[in-house]
């Protein structure tokens, strides 16, 4: 007799195994970043409405909730970046007869790149702030 039992994926599959929970946590890092993007866009919108509106928006950023969102978004971005860079050497394998780059070097290049980009942004922000204060 052939009557196979078809197993259906449960809606809560991602809660049932620590590996799936880790995966979902990583996927969930998109949520605070999404909220952060909305916040930035609302700032841009207030900017188009004039100085008073923008200053009010800046003032609003001081609320503890929004400070917490900033902290959360930063933590999420860092977590995502660190776990991503850890995986890169497995995926970006440069190993041909002509060219060979060790996995450690691939990882280091990504780490250096991330640090340089972030430090560059920070430097740019500081320079802009200085220029604004000088005016």
């Amino acid at each position: 007799m052939h009557k196979p039992y078809i197993q259906r994926q449960r809606a809560d599959w991602w809660l049932r195994n620590p590996a799936y929970r880790r995966y979902m946590l990583r996927e969930a890092t998109a949520l605070p970043l999404f909220l952060y993007t909305l916040l930035l866009m609302s700032g841009l919108f207030q900017f188009t409405r004039g100085e008073a509106a923008f200053l009010q928006w800046l003032e609003m950023l001081r609320s503890p909730w929004l400070l917490a969102l900033h902290g959360l978004a930063l933590a999420a971005a860092l977590f995502h970046a660190v776990t991503w860079i850890a995986l890169v050497p497995k995926i970006l394998v440069i190993d041909t007869d002509r060219l060979r780059v060790s996995p450690a070097a691939v990882k280091l290049a990504h780490q250096v790149g991330a640090v340089v980009c972030n430090a560059g942004l920070l430097l740019l922000a500081v320079l802009l702030l200085r220029a604004a204060a000088g005016n």
Partner: protein, 251 residues
């Protein structure tokens, strides 16, 4: 008195049952008892109607895959001693596959996917046998060696929520096998296999959960294989786009 362990085994008898259920057995414990030994003990001494698959008893044939406490495992390579802390050990048929009977899964969907990716050496021009073997250096072999260790056990498919959601997804084992041939210096079939990598059921259905690589008993690392396939698929896309822009595409 000999110490015993409670093993809860999933049963499904298509003649009588509409859904799987669980049956408890007491198995005499010993340090070197594998889950497979426990299942054989049950079948030989307690209930001859229990159905489960096995052959080699040494992690080579790939036929003894089951869920042990909700993790995909080879029952011959998993030992009761590692579950001493837990009150009981639960053994179920592999997730994501139809259950034929008790612990026996129908993994034909996976086997079909293996064939889809044309897992053999493809040559643009076949050389005659008299010409001898296609030579390969040890370095060239090393590039695909890990991906060639697969024993078709299907554990990675039981671990893959994307395959669970959509059985048409070619899945970790088959896509790792495609990569195994694409990386082989003797093979010239990467362009032919690209259609399977690029397909909706190909590498882009993978969201890099990564659990397949954790459960693989042969350290094949199918997640890495699939995601290297994404890089190859990207490059293929860019090259095609460039050719179209230069008016060189005849597709």
């Amino acid at each position: 008195m000999t110490e015993t362990v409670t093993v809860r085994v999933q049963r499904y008898r298509p003649e009588e049952d509409t859904a799987p259920w669980e049956q408890s057995f007491e198995v005499p414990y010993s340090e070197d008892l594998s889950i497979l030994d426990a299942l054989n003990q049950i079948k030989d001494q307690q209930d001859p109607t229990l159905s489960h698959r096995w052959s080699c008893r040494m992690a080579i044939c790939g036929s003894c895959g089951v869920m042990v406490n909700n993790e995909p495992k080879l029952s011959c390579k998993t030992f009761l001693r590692d579950y001493r802390e837990q009150a009981a050990v639960t053994v179920r048929a592999l997730d994501n596959f139809p259950i034929e009977r008790d612990l026996v899964s129908d993994i034909s969907g996976f086997i079909d996917h293996l064939e889809t990716v044309q897992p053999w050496l493809i040559r643009s021009e076949e050389q005659p046998v008299s010409a001898g073997a296609y030579p390969q250096t040890p370095e060239q072999m090393q590039r695909y060696a890990a991906f060639s260790q697969c024993i078709n056990c299907g554990l990675c498919y039981a671990a893959c929520p994307q395959f669970g959601r959509d059985p048409a997804f070619l899945g970790p084992g088959a896509l790792a096998l495609a990569q195994r041939y694409n990386l082989d210096s003797r093979d010239e079939g990467a362009a032919q296999r690209m259609q399977w990598l690029n397909a909706g059921e190909g590498v882009w259905s993978c969201t890099f959960v990564g659990y397949c690589s954790e459960v693989c008993p042969k350290d094949v690392d199918p997640a890495a294989a699939i995601n290297r396939g994404k890089v190859a698929s990207d490059i293929n896309y860019a090259v095609n786009l460039l050719n179209i822009l230069r008016g060189k595409d005849d597709a």
